[in-house]
């Protein structure tokens, strides 16, 4: 239908043009120009009209050309005739030298262009579309606000029903639109809100106030931020995930990043205890590096945040955007390889009333479940000690007199030397067997943890100024009594709009001050260590010295050498404090030269200082032990003290400063059916830190003086006991770093007809990577993407699926490993040089072919909305290939090194991110569900250096990745069970064998079993939300599937180690070990051997018998809230009470041993319950 319509118009236009070009070019242009400007300012032209206009323009130019040609012909032929007035005028003008032929051409073109635009304006106006005369329209003013909060909606679309003109609202929600006098209906839409149909009247109607109601799909993003720009999500080709304010506030935590756990697509959190080698605690879309830093880049507002993320108060955060693919993250170039987390702080808005918000909550956490970790009972461990005692393992220690012995061994030794009778020794042992160090720890070292959080903020905006101020206070008493900390945060954000809003000045100041305090912890060296007697008096424990030695040594001339852990705790003799202060100033100045063209300068400065003080009073064990150890005896038996009497204070300072500057040009231009959104910029960054530690001996707190001058740090002193000799440690060290980056970047997206989007980006990073020759310092990275909003196609008629968008992107991100260099580099040597001279150690052998790591990203995405958007979500399939990755591999020691690090590997990963949000019921009870499913798999596709033995592969696979297998792969030795002597049987080349060394050293990978991935390959969550009147309830179920872990079992090596430590007694399967012939029928746990055989032990510990499936489903948390609106009470605009339970428990696990797969070792996170309140005044 369009072409036909078009032709008619062309004809009409041609007629008009002849008229205007011949008759009225002298007065028309200025008038038309004016109108044109208004047109581009006030309205955006829909696709259909744009295309038509484009064609028209083309025809106009064509016509002009024809005209000129005709003119020249005419001129040649009738140069001296004067039949045509117009041409005569021109002729005369030319003769007088006023008109040159090309001037004529230019004037003609200009006229034609103006006419064309004027025409376009006419034809694109609704009146023209309906054949209404231009004169019968007027400018309608209006404002769009959210019905719930009354806040203006920036960027809402206003469209006349059945018309083609669309306008967007500005920051204050205001719009102006030329509408016909006859009145009509406006369609007002805004992502996340229901479309409103608003009737308007004839000329002189009052300004419209349109209130939009939320459509309740909270997950539907509005604007996503890359840190360089903010763009509507539907305009983005890349993979973005936005976590909005409501979702962020669902969880209670001191740290902002914790709040992403379990609610963010494509993100997996790794707890400390199941983390693999070099694995970051947050991983976005699998792993695409081997040894470089795998942490995502964190951006706070416009700039990377340097420093501890826990300095940021979560209540100051508006939303978080996760950038997952190259098109999204490429803006951050060489540091974006692990994904980017963009945190946006809250701001005030012009036109908002002053709003005061108060947040407070209290979190209570249980004591940790110390009984989760399997360990030998006191009686069992004493049994082990008895056996080792009989084997003579402790004899050297017993005979030298000072090596610490456990209480049971002391009893055995006394009994053997006849100091006590057998009855006494038996009763002592029985007594010891009744103690349980875990109960002691729980009693003395743990408490119910209490975290308090308070925050108040003030925000609003009027005139040319908007603001957000907040103050927060957190006070955390950890469940470990030795630790507590508090934090004060202040935040001030101001935005000024000057010069008719062309100049925008933004400033944000963040201030954080935190204090933490810790006391020495205590680790029992036996399962029956006892901290206090029945009366509660602290008891001494053998730590560095045998108790009997510490009791009597020195005849009173030494300081008491006994160690009373409980006294240290109660008296706080040794205390470590850390005071952290962090300032961040973030400013930007931007000026809009022309509509859509903006230049900006950003500058950020961040300064952090940390002051660590570890103060050990003279009474502390730390100080007493050190003074005693260095005490010297002269020939006459007199004592001298090389370390002065007094406290020992170790002071450390770290100062860091980051300067970040950026200049950027933004272009946003739309005309006809086209829209271009582009930016280009230059960035410079310098990040320095310097740390400095000083040890002060003989410290007097009152006068702040030390006695270091009295110490000879060069002298080698023999220890008071034993044979060791050492220098008095200076505890003094300085080190600094200065990292510098330069980057150039551009980013552009072109939208055609509001439904085809093409994006392009490129970036070059350069840094002062040490020793890499200049041309390799930089790495150019680029990306491109396409997006197609299918539902906007005229042919798209799928009513039940109103939203369908396809996206595809391709590009490169990178990774930097600052620790490597292409040239031989050496570092200050660690340790003591024999003659106390300065020395260096080689940290990096020469590697001329070193390159930056590159990551190739491909992303395919589909965004959909079904059934009136009650069902919406997205599916993304991604490919992530690591190229030139820096790998570690063992290398023949004849080279002088044992591990080689270089660009030696490629990896290939792919996965799926699926998000589905459903609104299950509407009405009074509103039930919605958010379902996240992620699939991520990777494998090493190329590894250029040879791997080590099978034992290397099994025990340290991260250093020995095998081609064709995941980077975090779990390999195991095939296990043949036990033989009649309780020895484990392995498999070598298909035969059962006990040649343990051969099994370990074999390099034939067929002798290994590949069990599977060591990290979850399928994971996600299901969150259900209910809302009924003022009540809301939600609970989140998370799952991690498709992976394996190795469970700990009886370790022959550490259980028979001569010194007591948790590793010796925290052992599983002690009772399941083979003890007598026949046991091999029911158990796989080998007999304990003395002395232990390393390879035999390793065969069992790394066998497939100890591999468990990691799959599990967890009820992560429940939140229950109640909100009162201003209708129900008068004081607050709204008030919300909530209760939040976290770490609730496992619903399903595939292992039958009751092991939490997130905590194969250690103790799982304790349950917490939080109560809180959020009020808006």
């Amino acid at each position: 239908m369009m072409p036909a319509c078009g032709r008619q118009e062309y004809e009409l236009l041609m007629i008009n043009t002849v008229f205007s070009s011949t008759g009225s070019f002298s007065r028309e242009p200025s008038h038309i120009q004016k109108n044109t400007e208004k047109t581009t300012c006030n309205s955006r032209v829909t696709g259909k009209w744009g295309l038509r206009r484009f064609k028209t323009t083309f025809w106009w130019f064509f016509f002009a050309k024809v005209c000129i040609k005709k003119y020249w012909k005419f001129r040649r032929r009738y140069l001296f005739s004067s039949q045509n007035v117009a041409y005569e005028t021109i002729r005369i003008g030319m003769r007088l030298g006023v008109f040159k032929p090309y001037t004529v051409y230019l004037i003609t073109l200009k006229i034609l262009f103006c006419v064309c635009l004027a025409h376009a304006r006419q034809s694109s106006s609704p009146e023209a579309a309906h054949g209404v005369a231009l004169q019968s329209s007027y400018l309608l003013n209006g404002r769009v606000v959210s019905a719930e909060t009354n806040e203006p909606l920036d960027g809402a679309t206003i469209k006349i029903w059945k018309g083609d003109i669309k306008v967007l609202t500005d920051k204050d929600g205001k719009f102006r639109l030329r509408v016909p006098d006859t009145g009509g209906v406006l369609l007002v839409s805004y992502v996340g809100y229901k479309i409103a149909e608003v009737p308007f009247g004839g000329r002189d109607s009052k300004p419209l106030i349109v209130q939009l109601e939320s459509n309740g799909t909270q997950l539907e993003e509005v604007q996503v931020s890359t840190g360089y720009q903010t763009l509507p999500k539907e305009r983005a080709t890349g993979s973005f995930v936005q976590v909005d304010n409501e979702l962020l506030n669902r969880r209670v935590s001191t740290n902002i990043l914790d709040r992403l756990d379990g609610v963010t697509s494509g993100l997996i959190f790794n707890t400390n205890n199941n983390r693999q080698f070099g694995q970051s605690d947050i991983q976005i879309r699998g792993r695409a590096t081997l040894f470089a830093n795998s942490d995502p880049l964190i951006i706070l507002d416009n700039f990377p945040y340097k420093g501890d993320i826990s300095n940021i108060n979560p209540n100051d955060i508006e939303n978080i955007t996760i950038l997952k693919d190259a098109a999204a993250a490429s803006a951050w170039g060489a540091r974006a390889g692990n994904g980017v987390i963009v945190i946006t702080t809250k701001r005030g808005r012009i036109g908002n009333k002053t709003k005061v918000e108060i947040n407070t909550n209290l979190t209570i956490s249980e004591k940790p479940d110390l009984y989760y970790t399997p360990q030998l009972s006191a009686a069992e461990y004493i049994e082990v000690e008895q056996f080792l005692f009989n084997q003579g393992l402790y004899n050297v220690a017993i005979n030298n007199g000072f090596t610490p012995l456990s209480p049971a061994v002391e009893v055995f030794a006394k009994a053997r030397s006849g100091l006590i009778g057998s009855a006494d020794s038996l009763s002592s042992i029985r007594q010891l067997a009744t103690y349980d160090s875990r109960a002691e720890l729980l009693q003395h070292y743990y408490r119910t943890g209490v975290n308090q959080q308070y925050q108040a903020s003030l925000s609003g905006g009027e005139g040319n100024h908007s603001y957000f101020f907040s103050a927060g206070y957190d006070k955390n008493l950890e469940s470990n009594v030795t630790n507590k900390n508090d934090r004060i945060t202040l935040n001030a954000t101001n935005t000024y709009y000057l010069l008719d809003r062309k100049l925008e000045f933004f400033s944000n100041i963040l201030f954080t001050s935190s204090n933490s305090e810790s006391l020495p912890r205590f680790t029992p060296s036996t399962p029956y260590d006892r901290l206090a007697d029945d009366a509660g008096n602290p008891l001494p424990i053998a730590r560095d010295l045998r108790l009997s030695y510490a009791d009597t040594v020195g005849n009173g001339q030494l300081l008491d050498w006994r160690y009373f852990p409980l006294r240290e705790l109660q008296q706080g003799y040794s205390k470590s404090t850390a005071k952290h202060t962090d300032y961040r100033l973030n400013t930007s100045l931007s000026y809009t030269f022309l509509p859509g063209l903006k230049a900006s300068i950003n500058y950020s400065f961040q300064k952090g200082t940390t002051d660590n003080v570890s103060h050990n009073e003279l009474e502390s064990y730390y100080t007493r032990n050190r003074i005693n150890t260095f005490t010297q005896t002269d020939a006459a038996g007199g004592l001298s003290y090389p370390i002065p009497m007094g406290a020992i204070r170790n002071v450390g300072n770290t100062r860091s400063a980051v300067h970040y500057g950026r200049t950027q040009l933004d272009l946003a231009k739309s005309w006809d059916a086209h829209a271009i959104n582009a930016l280009a910029g230059f960035e410079i960054r310098s990040s320095t830190n310097f740390s400095n530690t000083i040890g002060l001996y003989g410290y007097n707190e009152e006068t702040a003086t030390d006695q270091n001058a009295a110490i000879n740090f060069r002298e080698l002193y023999p220890y008071y006991y034993g044979f060791n000799t050492a220098r008095i440690p200076t505890n003094t060290q300085q080190s600094g770093a200065d990292l510098r980056y330069l980057s150039y970047y551009m980013n552009a997206s072109y939208t055609y007809l509001d439904r085809y989007i093409l994006s392009l980006s490129a970036r070059k990073d350069e840094s002062n990577l040490f020793g890499v020759s200049s041309n390799q310092k930089g790495v150019p990275l680029w990306s491109t993407g396409l997006s197609w909003l299918l539902n906007r196609e005229p042919f798209y008629q799928v009513g039940w699926m109103p939203k369908l968008q396809l996206r595809v992107t391709f590009g490169y991100t990178g990774n930097v490993d600052n620790s490597l260099s292409a040239l031989l580099t050496a570092n200050r040597g660690s340790g003591q040089q024999r003659y106390n001279t300065y020395f260096t150690e080689i940290v990096n052998p020469p590697n001329p072919s070193l390159r930056w790591e590159k990551i190739r990203n491909v992303n395919f995405g589909v965004d959909f909305g079904l059934l009136d958007n009650r069902l919406n979500g997205s599916i993304e399939y991604w490919l992530k290939d690591g190229l030139d990755l820096i790998g570690n591999s063992p290398i023949a020691p004849q080279t002088g090194i044992t591990l080689f690090k270089g660009n030696s590997a490629n990896t290939s990963g792919h996965g799926l991110d699926f998000v589905l949000n459903t609104i299950n019921t509407k009405g009074a009870l509103r039930w919605s569900t958010n379902f996240l499913y992620n699939y991520a798999k990777d494998k090493v596709t190329d590894y250029k250096v040879s791997n080590g033995s099978n034992f290397n592969v099994v025990s340290a696979n991260y250093n020995n990745p095998l081609e064709g297998y995941p980077y975090y792969a779990l390999f195991a030795f095939p296990y043949g069970g036990l033989d009649g002597q309780g020895d484990p049987i392995g498999l070598l080349d298909g035969n059962q064998t006990k040649e343990y060394a051969a099994i370990m050293n074999s390099q034939d990978r067929n002798n290994l079993v590949f069990v599977g991935s060591a990290i979850p390959t399928h994971f996600g969550s299901v969150r259900n939300n209910f809302r009924y009147k003022g009540f809301d309830l939600s609970f989140n179920i998370t799952y991690k599937l498709g992976y394996f872990f190795r469970r700990p079992s009886l370790n022959n090596g550490s259980i028979y180690a001569s010194t007591g430590s948790p590793a010796a007694y925290q052992q599983a399967d002690y009772n399941n070990r083979w003890q007598q012939p026949g046991d091999e029928e029911w158990t796989d746990v080998p007999a304990l051997l003395y002395p232990s055989n390393l390879n035999r032990n390793n065969l069992y510990l790394y066998s497939d018998a100890l591999v468990e499936k990691g799959d599990h489903i967890r009820l992560q948390d429940i939140r229950f809230g109640y909100s009162l609106t201003s209708r129900q009470q008068k004081i607050f605009r709204s008030i919300n009470f909530f209760m939040y339970l976290n770490n609730i428990g496992i619903l399903y696990r595939s292992n039958s041993r009751h092991i939490d797969p997130d905590y194969p070792t250690g103790v799982p996170q304790a349950k917490t319950i939080a109560f809180g309140l959020k009020a808006i005044i």
Binding site: T725, T825, A826, Y835, Q894, T895, T898, S946, Y996, L1094
Partner: protein
């Protein structure tokens, strides 16, 4: 902009990192005593200078237990064998310095020459230590056909070499030492004995020639060293009660190295399980000051080793000292029938070892007796210095017919003279990663 940009990006990222370019940088690398001044410990572990009781034996590591009993396989899963790895790390440091010097303008300066000599000496010292542990005893007539070491002479880590012949290995050691000799200073570096001097170069040559039984060369090298430096310390002036009687700068030291700090069996400390066998203790005279200075009487009456010439170090001193040169000189004289001379050198040494006024004056009636006296004193003086194993190889090659035996848990193990088990196996990871040929034991 271009120039500014270069300056901006030229800043080094860390204060502690350097890219060795200057002579001082090279010197700082060579001053790394944590890598460079070590020798292997397997020879001490297997030698007959100590024993451990059954209980201590059972608490040992695989390598300790197997090397103690001269088993065919000794590592059994133990990795990072420092006897090999650290010594090749020394070669790597030396090669890096030599490579760096070859690109340096100041290589011809006095300091540059010294550093070059130092690097060459270091490399020779390392290769000699590797050769004596992992290759059979050098014999000029068969060395061409015997397996030597992979001879890495460049710092490139992508170059993996097969084993050279034993002949080439020793040729390289001597070439490096001859090259180093003129570059090294005459003076003993009194406060930095981790650095070599001409004295050290001659002393090492004397040790190697003695070891490969070229006694004339050994004597002449010992003469050269002693001509430069021949101080002895008087043991009467050393504290007999101190746990660390000798400082690391004492007068007899020429070049300080110690055994790699692994193998608990061989430590010299109160908690060390190692004991000096009775038959060795019986060699010492009651007036011999070496007993209180070298040994520590334990509660059960046995003797453990005190710290020795490396001061506070708990592991054996294996470096070069003048007392060894006196003994080399005496031995060479005895071997060429200079009985008087041999006894003079020996007595000069013993004068400083016995209590004043009760110094024995040894005499020998025959070359054989002279040699026997010298060798006994050698065993007594140089105990726990990492030299005994090599002496056993050398003397057995001359038909000394010394069989070693040890009893553990009631079972007796013996090591026959000239057994292939005097040569240690190359660590398993080296064999696995470079594919070089393993020793047959």
């Amino acid at each position: 902009m271009g120039c500014d940009k270069e300056t901006f990006l030229a800043k080094k990222p860390s204060t502690s990192i350097v890219q060795p370019k200057t002579l001082t940088d090279f010197q700082n690398l060579l001053d790394n005593t944590l890598v460079l001044n070590y020798t292997g410990g397997l020879a001490q572990l297997s030698a007959d200078e100590y024993e451990v009781n059954d209980e201590a034996f059972m608490a040992g590591t695989e390598t300790e237990r197997n090397a103690y009993l001269w088993q065919e396989q000794i590592y059994n899963g133990d990795n990072s064998i420092l006897d090999w790895n650290r010594l090749y790390a020394q070669v790597f440091y030396a090669n890096n310095v030599l490579d760096g010097l070859s690109h340096s303008d100041s290589a011809a300066t006095a300091q540059g020459r010294f550093i070059k000599g130092w690097a060459l000496f270091t490399r020779a010292f390392a290769y000699y230590d590797l050769a004596k542990n992992f290759c059979s005893l050098y014999n000029p007539s068969t060395a061409v056909n015997e397996l030597g070491l992979p001879l890495k002479l460049k710092p490139q880590i992508d170059e993996i070499l097969p084993r050279s012949s034993l002949e080439n290995t020793y040729r390289q050691i001597f070439r490096d030492l001859e090259d180093a000799k003129p570059l090294l200073p005459f003076q003993r570096p009194n406060n930095n004995l981790n650095r070599p001097s001409k004295i050290a170069a001659y002393a090492l040559l004397a040790r190697i020639y003695l070891d490969i039984r070229q006694y004339d060369e050994a004597e002449s090298a010992a003469d050269s060293a002693l001509a430069l430096y021949n101080k002895l310390i008087d043991y009467n002036k050393v504290s007999r009660t101190s746990a660390t009687p000798f400082s690391i700068t004492h007068d007899e030291l020429i070049y300080n190295t110690s055994q790699v700090n692994t193998y608990f069996f061989t430590t010299a400390s109160a908690i060390s399980p190692g004991r000096v066998p009775d038959h060795i203790m019986a060699l010492y005279d009651e007036n011999d000051l070496r007993v209180p200075l070298y040994f520590n009487r334990t509660a059960d009456g046995t003797f453990s080793k005190k710290r020795g010439y490396n001061g506070a170090g708990a592991y054996a001193f294996t470096g070069l000292a003048t007392d060894e040169l006196y003994l080399i000189k005496a031995e060479c004289l005895a071997r060429r029938n200079e009985l008087g001379g041999a006894m003079d050198w020996l007595n000069t040494l013993l004068e400083k070892r016995y209590q004043n006024n009760v110094v024995p004056s040894l005499t020998a009636g025959s070359a054989a007796e002279a040699l026997r006296l010298v060798l006994t004193e050698r065993q007594k003086e140089l105990i726990w210095r990492g030299l005994r194993w090599q002496d056993l190889k050398r003397l057995n090659a001359e038909s000394a017919d010394i069989t070693l035996s040890r009893t553990v848990n009631g079972q007796t193990y013996i090591l026959l003279p000239n057994s292939p088990r005097y040569v240690f196996p190359i660590p398993d990871d080296e064999i696995a990663l470079s594919g070089i040929e393993q020793n047959k034991r």
